[in-house]
């Protein structure tokens, strides 16, 4: 099971990466308004 020496660091790196992404998204204000985006996508100028 020595392969765990590889898999655990990789998984932790991935988890850490996603945590960093989460922190960035909160700091950037991505989670401030969780209502309007759902509506915004419906009204594109272009029909498609």
């Amino acid at each position: 099971m020595n392969v765990l020496y590889l898999m655990i660091p990789i998984s932790l790196l991935l988890a850490g990466g996603f945590l960093a992404a989460f922190i960035w998204s909160v700091r950037d204000g991505q989670v401030d308004d969780l209502e309007t985006p759902a509506h915004r996508i419906l009204e594109d100028e272009e029909g498609a």
């Binding site: 099971m1 765990l4 655990i8 932790l12 988890a15 850490g16 996603f18 945590l19 989460f22 922190i23 909160v26 700091r27 989670v31 401030d32 308004d33 969780l34 209502e35 309007t36 509506h39 915004r40 419906l42 009204e43 100028e45």
Partner: protein, 720 residues
Amino acid sequence: MQNSNALEKIDFSFLDQPEFRKSFTSGPESNCIRFYVSGIRCSKCVRKLENLSTTVPGLKQLRVELGKNLAYAEVNPEILNFSDLAKKIVELGFNPIPLSEPSQEIAAQKLEDRNELIRLGVAAACAGNIMTFSFATYFGEAGAFYSIFSWLSFILYLPVVTYVAWPFYVGAWTSLRQKSLSIDFPMAVASLAGFVFSTIELLRGKHDIYFDSLSGFLFLILVSRWAQKRVQRRFLRREEIEDTLRLQRVRVLNSTGWNWLPTDSLKIGDRILLYRSETLPAQVELETSYARVGMSWLSGEIKPKTFLQGSTVPAGARLDSSEATFVVKGLLKDSNFGRIIQEVQKFNLTNNRIVSRADKWAQWLLVSVFLCALVFLFSYWSTSSEEAIRRSLALIILACPCAMAFGVPLALIFSLRKAQQRGLIIRNANVFENAKSIQTIFFDKTGTLTDSDLTLIEDPTSVSKIYQKIILSLENESTHPIAFAFRKAIPNTDSLLSVEQLRETPGIGISGYIYGRLYELRGEVGDSSIGCTFFEDKKLLFKFTFEAAIRPDCQMILTELRRRNYRVALISGDRKETVESLGKKLGFKDEDIFSEMDPDKKLFVISRTQNPMMIGDGVNDSLALMKASVSVASSGGVEAALKSSDVYLTEPSLRGVLDLLDISKDSIGLIRQNLLISVGYNLLGGVLALSGYINPFVAAVLMPISSGFILFITWWRGHS
């Protein structure tokens, strides 16, 4: 969507004044502004507004926040100014109200929210990964990887014990310095003690490692706090009433004319100009010779008061005459009105008896738990030090005064909210507890059981049509209750006649010339009735009488209260005949009718009764109201009413009384239920923990569950 005609008349030019920009704009170049835009309901609205940025030159961006009805705009000031932007929004059919920049408080709150969310994220990530590794060890891994996984749990717990648990340490330390115990304390102790204990076990190569339980426990507590805070905030949000009343700007006079200025920038000595139906944003001295001003919001009087040049007019009064100028003598925030705005919107829980009692109990619980844990620790140490630590830790983690610390305030908040929805303004939440022990309910007559409005008793058709028209024409501009009564009774179909030399003299009546004849209406206030005589050229033509109508659902409410075994009594300062005739009509027993009661006598009756509720006029009955166990003001200005009463009814119906009683019953019942559950849980859990049946891991799971359970029950029962 609003009537755009009405909107187009609104003048937005004040938005371009430099003083305005100071407090209403933001951004490094002061070119960003926030609007409150009511009427945004759907995706199309979002699109219409946001697309303005591509159709209006100079509008760099416009973003809508649907949930809060906000629109943020960034402009290029060289091309587009704010007033034109506002006009464009109006053209789309929306009503934009510029908002002043959020206070430091709100900005700080936003930052705090974000930090809390990040803390939650870190807690979740660490707890989840720790659990992965510790589960592996539980599921049987005992080989080389055991110590690796354990050390990984330790490393992943470090951010938890420092960053995630930080607010608990701060809270615990603060409360300790104030010589009290807050609920942060056990969390802080558990987090630290658990960390130390587990680390020592880890170093010794043993198995009592609890990083997973502790991190999971801290995560769940953070989640429940987050949820609770959001609920609390949603129900306690201070509406920006000033913005809705358009109090944010005022015309300030200068040498050349007048300018719009933000109210915040008013200084004492400024001269301001108001038009009809605008509200005074400051305490002022009247400059114009005469002004008629409505004071209903302040004093409860429906009839506008007339002020003469030089008199002081309070802030919050509404101008009833067509225009007037004033000199500022006192600022809004220092005025009664300004204070009311704040007080009325803010529910003050700190003086609440139940909450303080609950806080005390919570503290006692925590102290006892800690004492128990310490005692147990010392006495069991000799038997097995590890077991002693484990069980004490379990006890500390398990014990939760959640029902008291969270449940009681939450229940009260829901009740306050419910009350608010039914039109009750409550001064403080003690009233719920008091209402439960009410036995007798005293009703005042005028304004409580009867309308403040007058109704014409005689049939208006007994007067010929031409005289009806004359009466209406005379009373056309009057705001006297008699005038309202006439207007209610006589239908107005044709155009009115023009009146020469119209004069309304307060206390006397109204007179004027129509077709060369002098017509007069003279008011007479008798003991039990209000009357009015109609003269043509000094000759008496008609006599009218008015009465105050009984409020429509009185009978029903009284019946219901009797059904619930309350004793109901009628107490009034009016004459015996009037009061007794009303009393009999409404089914009051003879011994329960008190007439010709002046304020002192009312006070005497109230103080002799056990557990009385008094419902009356906030101003006139203030003495009696203050004495009653529960006092409800059904009329009178809100400021005065709230000085003397616990509750102010904003709707004319007495339905609010029943609502109050119902809500109180539910509220107290819920609080008692929560306390019972909490006590039971803590007792049982404590015993099991100290007997060794619950280890810290299980305790860490149970505590958030119990906390969440109580919150859930409270929400469920309180919410519906």
